[in-house]
Assembly symmetry: C2
Homo-oligomer: 325 residues x 2
């Protein structure tokens, strides 16, 4: 009898402890995830998917961590301009640097691609990849989000972190497919999300193999090679992963094509959209925002069977570390 009890303790307890997605309220979003995972992992079932083909892709900004009120990487660039400004007194009179120093995001946004490239050139290029990574690490350790008074990498959504873990526990390979710079996101992805560098796909700038002091280095150049956004996302998924995911998670129109490409494949598919509708705990924005605009994808969700996640209704908690008041 004690053997049976022991077996019950050994096997039953972990199962209870592992009730998936504890930060999710019961509702259609949580149910969609659990149903999908059950279907694709049921051996012998009609929807079974072999572990190797269980590829799930996640947008980063606004899907895994906050993008409000500006993308974290843009904030990094602005802070870098400020840090470098003492060596460049001419920036006070020259756009886009002046706008960056004033934190004038509106002027920056109006400036267009050429002006943003000028910022990129001084903040994201010239270094080696190792130096750049160290700069990002250093910034993440010191910078604090203006509204939430927390480290940026503490502004990760707890329910999404649970979702990543739940999928991995079911032998999914989880990828980040971000419009952000791949090297920027790789700096914290393993620590913050458990996603190793090789499972981060993102926008890239040119890097060149050079030598410094007789040692080989990879030097960052001020030229954007690939923008991993919109129709770029399925292309990058194909280049890096080489097979179509069976699940995709996004939050904006920039994820539309990734969701479309993923869910147009045969067999069971899961497409989900995180909707920022929680002004009390984070922010509320969709069709009218320049950052993280959700318009076309929201209109298509019903017809395409993409499940909209309401942060307000579906999530018990927002952040991994609740921000200070």
């Amino acid at each position: 009898m004690w053997l049976v009890s022991l077996a019950l303790i050994m096997f039953a307890t972990p199962l209870v402890a592992q009730e998936p997605l504890p930060s999710w309220n019961d509702g259609p979003a949580r149910q969609a995830v659990v149903d999908f995972v059950r279907k694709v992992t049921t051996e012998g079932g009609p929807d079974y998917v072999t572990p190797g083909a269980r590829i799930a892709v996640f947008d980063n900004d606004g899907t895994l961590w906050t993008e409000w009120p500006v993308y974290t990487q843009l904030q990094f660039a602005l802070d870098r301009v400020k840090a470098l400004a003492p060596k460049h007194p001419e920036w006070r009179k020259k756009q886009p640097f002046r706008a960056a120093l004033d934190g004038d995001v509106k002027t920056l946004a109006a400036g267009g691609a050429k002006e943003l490239m000028a910022l990129m050139a001084v903040t994201h290029a010239g270094q080696t990849q190792e130096e750049f990574r160290a700069e990002v690490e250093d910034w993440l350790a010191k910078a604090r989000h203006g509204a939430f008074k927390a480290r940026y990498d503490a502004l990760v959504y707890r329910p999404m972190l649970e979702l990543l873990g739940y999928l991995r526990a079911n032998q999914f390979k989880t990828y980040i497919v971000t419009g952000g710079g791949v090297e920027f996101v790789r700096t914290f992805a393993e620590r913050a999300y458990g996603v190793p560098p090789e499972q981060v796909v993102g926008s890239t700038i040119e890097t060149r193999f050079e030598h410094a002091d007789g040692k080989p280095v990879l030097r960052r150049k001020p030229k954007i090679v690939f923008v991993d956004d919109k129709e770029g996302k399925p292309v990058a998924i194909d280049t890096h992963i080489g097979r179509r995911p069976i699940a995709a998670f996004g939050n904006s129109d920039g994820d539309y094509e990734m969701l479309e490409w993923t869910t147009a494949g045969p067999g069971p598919r899961l497409g989900m959209i995180v909707r920022h509708d929680d002004a009390g705990r984070e922010a509320s924005y969709d069709r009218a925002t320049p950052i993280g605009r959700l318009d076309k994808a929201l209109d298509a969700a019903d017809e395409r069977h993409w499940t909209v996640i309401s942060m307000k209704k579906d999530w018990k908690t927002i952040f991994v570390t609740p921000p200070s008041p």
Copy 2:
């Protein structure tokens, strides 16, 4: 007593059966592999490397399968031109198609990049990725190597296949980093080498996200985006994998920078070069060949502590399936 015997059978037998690298002769090459793996997997040892950082990269042509007398993908392109020729009578009078139809590799090689691009445009572009993969599959099933009278994907080196398996059994993640087209190699890499699509890095042509009959497709365009050779290899490794490998395997000067980048990192490193010195069982070529030239890397091997693998001396068997006489 029988319990002890049972334990011996259960645990000892697999160990004996798993004697690593059975197709390798005892010698410095095999020893270098075994020593390196022991060092990086010895927990608590000075050279221990965590499993996540055990990244090994392999060139494909001439390192994992034969590239002699021409790269397999070039043979595929020539055969495609022949297959498409009945619809293009003008090709008989037009270079580089005429040379392709005549199998005149010398003229093709002399033609340079522009002429090779013309061949690429008709053989490697225009289709969707799925259509292209089906064309490659179909070709691999039917084509036979002229000299070895075998399927091309049977001309995989058995000792290298054992090496891939041995590294994976020791929690290495094995990547192919090929100058060949990524989509071409992905078609057979999982079946032939046990390397899944997401662990194949290669040269890329432009692909675009389009719609055909209302469905999203990825369409191949006749424009080379990235050449994964020479100094391109460390760049591609950085873009796709995001960390420096600890072991690299190549066979030509095209792998020089990959070997250099890998072995210049801190801690234990393994760089190895497959040398084609076995005219009896495969082929003998190094400094004087236009395909798979090994010159600069051979000169540097000693100084850089790269181990040269002699196919003749180090390998008991060459191919997974011994070719017909």
